[in-house]
């Protein structure tokens, strides 16, 4: 842990390539049969129900400093440097989590949570963290994704159970992000529309464009995994610490493929609960 001077072009080489030694030690312990998991009892039992066994709580994190990019007051534009930062940091966290799962010989990771935490370490520094439970099929059949890696998914144990009953299997957690600066309206425009019912086309267009970019990037990731669809997509809009006109659009979902046409989901019983 030394403070080596950081030259931007040399920075990637300085990043820890492998998992820390202590991580390998911990994972080696897990291989001897003990499992850890942040799944609730319900989720644990449902995952056992579809023939998977939890292997261990896997995590990846990166504390990342985002750079500075100047924005023009009256111009709507993507802030590529910030988009890159949000992408890189999340990728670092995800890849490290996948590496841990890989080392455990997992088929996949379920219940992945991707969080960004801001601490008091100074402005622009944030922790990106990915946490999930590595699982493996008890039958020994590999369920790894098209790239030969463990699948990742932010589906809960309940969703995972339901999905498996319908012949789908998760391929990977896919995401797209776009940090966008939305132009301020000029004084003339503001005065011109005062007292009127009008659409604000510049705002509408900016939000549209940013959302589209995030969604397209997410779909591209799913294409790379040869997925047939994305379920449970969430679209989040956050300003983080950039002020009101700079917004990150993040779309997240689980890419899935159909592996069999057999649907084993029992026909649901309809109920009316008598409690209030």
């Amino acid at each position: 842990m030394t403070d080596a001077p950081q030259d931007p072009s040399a920075a990637p080489e300085e990043l820890p390539k492998d998992l820390p030694e202590a991580t390998s030690r911990r994972l080696a312990e897990l291989e001897h049969g003990l499992f850890t998991s942040d799944l609730s009892v319900n989720e644990f039992l449902l995952i056992k129900e579809v023939g998977f066994h939890p292997l261990g709580l896997v995590m990846g994190s990166s504390i990342y400093h985002t750079g500075i990019q100047t924005r023009k007051w009256g111009q709507s534009q993507e802030l590529t440097k910030l988009t890159e930062a949000m992408y890189n940091a999340r990728e670092l966290a995800m890849t490290r989590m996948e590496e841990e799962a890989d080392q455990l010989g997992a088929d996949g990771v379920v219940g992945v949570r991707l969080d960004v935490n801001y601490y008091e370490w100074g402005k622009d520094a944030a922790e990106f963290i990915a946490v999930g439970t590595a699982v493996k099929a008890e039958s020994g059949v590999s369920h790894r994704n098209a790239l030969g890696k463990p699948f990742t998914s932010d589906l809960s144990g309940q969703d995972f159970w339901t999905l498996m009953q319908t012949g789908y299997i998760p391929q990977g957690l896919v995401m797209g992000t776009c940090v966008y600066h939305i132009a301020h309206r000029g004084l003339g425009q503001t005065l011109g529309s005062a007292g009127q019912n009008v659409e604000l086309p510049n705002f509408t267009q900016a939000l549209y464009e940013a959302r589209e970019m995030a969604m397209t990037r997410m779909q591209d990731e799913a294409d790379r995994l040869e997925a047939s669809g994305i379920v449970g997509v969430r679209l989040e809009e956050k300003s983080h610490q950039w002020g009101s006109h700079t917004i990150e659009f993040l779309s997240l979902g689980t890419a899935v493929t159909k592996t069999s046409d057999e649907v084993t989901l029992p026909v649901p019983t309809t109920i009316i609960s008598l409690d209030n």
Binding site: S37, L39, S40, H65, W121
Partner: protein, 282 residues
């Protein structure tokens, strides 16, 4: 309800007397004669417990405060060993006390344990509060009862599928994050870079905590830990110290094999409750 409870609406109520009677009633072994049984379980939870032949016995607690030497938080390198030791010590103390109370009350285990921890500059506190339970009809307490933060509902579901909790597996790690030099910080100001000093410190705290939790699960002879609660981040009063705590219930198969639960699916036909929300009118 004690038989000599004041009846009628005449005020003032003799509250010190009430309290004295409550304390006297709780002092002896519960569930016998007129002695009351206390528990923070809901009616549903209690019925669920009875459905698998268990019953609540008593509300039990354990608490422990461990001191942390002066000035360990601010400067140094690597793990803050005295803080990690204090956390482990406080937890062990609280567990030992809740064990003692449970055994005395005749319980075989504790479910629904609320775990409260607080890391302060000079001390680390751990408080546990839960309901002691036992199989119906057994009156002798177990010598090492299990302690679990799973609720009575989860305990029942686990029991039905052939698993049993063995105890609370805990681990904590506190680590210093080395400061960046002023020059480095200035240089990185406008760049996208990973702050490796913090990332490494975070990893190191996490790994020690998780390893300790696993060791404690193995010591409890569990084959897994479910519902792990993880708390992480810089310590409030020492920003360059990172804490990571993890705890969960260690479980193992009670019988030979896992029993599947084969859930059926339901669709509730109740309409969603639409609440009137005045704030939307603003």
């Amino acid at each position: 309800m004690t038989p000599d409870r004041p009846t009628g609406g005449s005020l003032p109520i003799d509250s010190p007397g009430e309290m004295r009677r409550a304390v006297e009633a709780l002092a002896g072994p519960p569930g016998q004669g007129t002695k009351p049984m206390t528990s923070d379980l809901s009616i549903d939870e209690e019925l669920l417990l009875h459905s698998i032949g268990w019953e609540p016995v008593e509300l039990v607690t354990g608490a422990s405060i461990f001191s942390v030497p002066m000035g360990v938080w601010n400067w140094g390198q690597g793990e803050i060993t005295s803080a990690s030791t204090a956390f482990a010590g406080a937890f062990a103390g609280a567990i030992a006390r809740i064990h003692r109370e449970t055994t005395r009350a005749g319980g075989h285990g504790v479910v629904g344990v609320h775990v409260e921890t607080s890391v302060q500059r000079h001390h680390i506190d751990v408080t546990l509060l839960g309901t002691a339970v036992r199989p119906v009809g057994s009156h002798k307490g177990a010598t090492t009862p299990f302690v679990s933060d799973l609720g009575a509902r989860d305990f029942t579901v686990l029991h039905v599928s052939g698993w049993e909790p063995t105890g609370l597996a805990v681990g904590a790690g506190f680590v210093y994050a080395p400061r960046r030099s002023m020059g480095t910080a200035m240089q990185q100001k406008s760049q996208n870079v990973e702050l490796t000093n913090f990332t490494e410190a975070m990893y190191s705290a996490r790994e020690s905590a998780m390893e300790r939790m696993q060791a404690s699960a193995l010591a409890l002879r569990g084959s897994g830990v479910v519902d792990v609660t993880v708390n992480e981040g810089p310590i409030e009063f020492a920003r360059h110290a990172i804490g990571f705590t993890a705890w969960g219930t260690a479980v193992r198969l009670a019988g030979d094999q896992h029993r599947t639960i084969e859930p059926s699916t339901v669709v509730p036909l109740d309409d969603a409750q639409v609440a009137f929300d005045a704030s939307t009118l603003g």
